[in-house]
Amino acid sequence: MAELSSSQTVPGLDLGAEESLGLYRRMRLIRSFEDAVQVQFQAGNVHGTTHLYSGQEAGAVGVCSVLGEGDKVAGTYRGHGHALALGVSPQGLMDELLGRETGLCGGRAGSMNVVDASTGLIGCFGIVGGSIGAATGAALSQKLLGTGTVAVAFFGEGTANQAYFHECLNWAQVEKLPAVFVCENNMYMEFTPIENVTAGEIVARPIAMGIHTRQVDGNDVWAVREAAWEAVEHARSGRGPAFLETLTYRFVGHSRSDPGRYRRPGELEEWRRRDPLLLARAGLEQRFGIGPARCEEVDAEVAAELEGIVAAGLAAPFPRPSAAATEFKHG
């Protein structure tokens, strides 16, 4: 049936050496991008607030690696990783954070609300739960228009206690929408340990609604990719939404100005030993005999790329205020 044809646009599940190295490169790009954002934030060039994805890269990269033409993604205020994993222009994203006219949204959106129609990024949603609603609606379009594509929502585990989560999961399952709900469980809702505010296991909730549900090591990009492949195929084939919980950890503060006092002693160090970049390097060596040297080349290339991006961004013009005066698209 038509709905399935475009699943051909998804690359095969087994990746070769170069493609696997591509996943590593993408994760490194995100890590380095976030480091650069942090520097620019402290320098006062990135404004307001930022929520960095550092430590969670395998999640977005693994999931987006199985998406194809026409699939849609809704991310969060912690969305730089979601955007870059999907293939959004790092220059456009950096310029947006720097508030420049050349930004993806001309400087109107900022870190928390980026939209990039060209890559299928419906948007990043600064208000918790928004990504779930947006992807549910996009999946409604995809079902009714028969596109054979899927819509992915990324959100954190703290979001599982909020209205959007419950109402949208139920409705998506009732309507058998091609939505994939990716719950990135980094163990904390801002500064609060998730178990302090959550009754039972999060995965028990979609399971109670009969939704196809899996849990996966969110720091192992190959594991995420396999689980995401299965979830996406489930949704794409018209069997209804799928739910994927990725177990991961945030290496940096929740947002600017978070000392992270809530972390248990040794917790951060323990997780750093499971850094998605380290795990990916180990995997590249073991699966394809790709050694550290090759990875360091990639790191250097990415570092150079980012230096150029930051320089160009800082040289770009700020938007002219007159732009603030439009209200409606005239129908």
Binding site: K72, A74, L104, C105, G106, R108, A109, N113, V115, D116, A117, I122, G123, F125, I127, G130, I132, G133, A134, A135, T136, G137, A138, A139, L140, S141, Q142, L144, L145, A151, A163, Y164, E167, C168, N170, W171, V174, E175, T326, E327, F328, K329, H330, G331
Partner: protein
Amino acid sequence: MGESATIEYRVAVREAIDEEMARDPRVVFFGEDVAVAGGVFAVTPGLEGEHGGSRVFDTPISELALSAGAFGAAVTGLRPIFEIMFADFLPLAMDSLINQAAKYWYVSNEQASCPLVVRSAMGAGGNFGAMHSQSPIPWLQGVPGLKVVAPATAGDAYALLRASIQDENPVAFLEHKRLYSVKDSVSDGATLPLGEAAVVREGNDLTLVSLSKGVRDCLGAAEELAERGIGAEVVDLRSLRPLDTGTVLRSVAKTNRIVVVEEGPLIGGWGANLLGIVAAEGLHDLDDAQVIACPETPIPYSPTLEDAWMPAEGRIVAEIANRA
């Protein structure tokens, strides 16, 4: 086309949805009990049969999901219409309307529009009590990016709803429960631009401004005032955002007296807000200005209390006469 018929307001609403769904396959319609049952106010019977269960469907009691789903669908290729049964329930859906739908076109730097319509039944006068009788206009008018439309007649309901569905912006389309059974003439295929007020009665002594059911009350009051030798011009705002202050200012330039009639509180209401804008732009045209609104309380159930709460025809006449 171009033909005109005399039909109920509720039928005019259905006709508009029906025709837009026939015209544009991207238009879909959903809500609680709207499809198989045809809606609790019998506004949408037959649409499911006409356009099929995949385009017209019943939903769970999930106002926030409906609103968010409509948003997500609107920015990815559909043109959804959804119903929030009573406007009193809109707050449950407002996060998505305010923070997602209303902001998308602007914040995305105009990458995509958000063409959705939320239909809702508002208004008091039916003894439905405090949580099933409110006007949501005060909660929604101050949201740039969200159009707010409230028709007073079947003809306007038809033409404005078609225009709302064709509009690229999110539109809150507010239908007054006490108008559903009122009939008047509708001309086939008509649309009206959103944001244009109408002078529905001419007069030289004062300008009565209202919308929705209030326009009928004002027209009735104008008749009584005429008997007392007061010539009232009546302006139907039709839309709260965009807001057509120009038509009001032109009328006031002629009459020099404005009376705004609102079914709702004075404080935080659209009526005093409109008067403030008029005062800022046309102060020297005003010899007198007045807002006839409602007591600053929830809407009571008992007929004697609700009748006293409403800005009814009689009260409009009395308050104007007392002031004159």
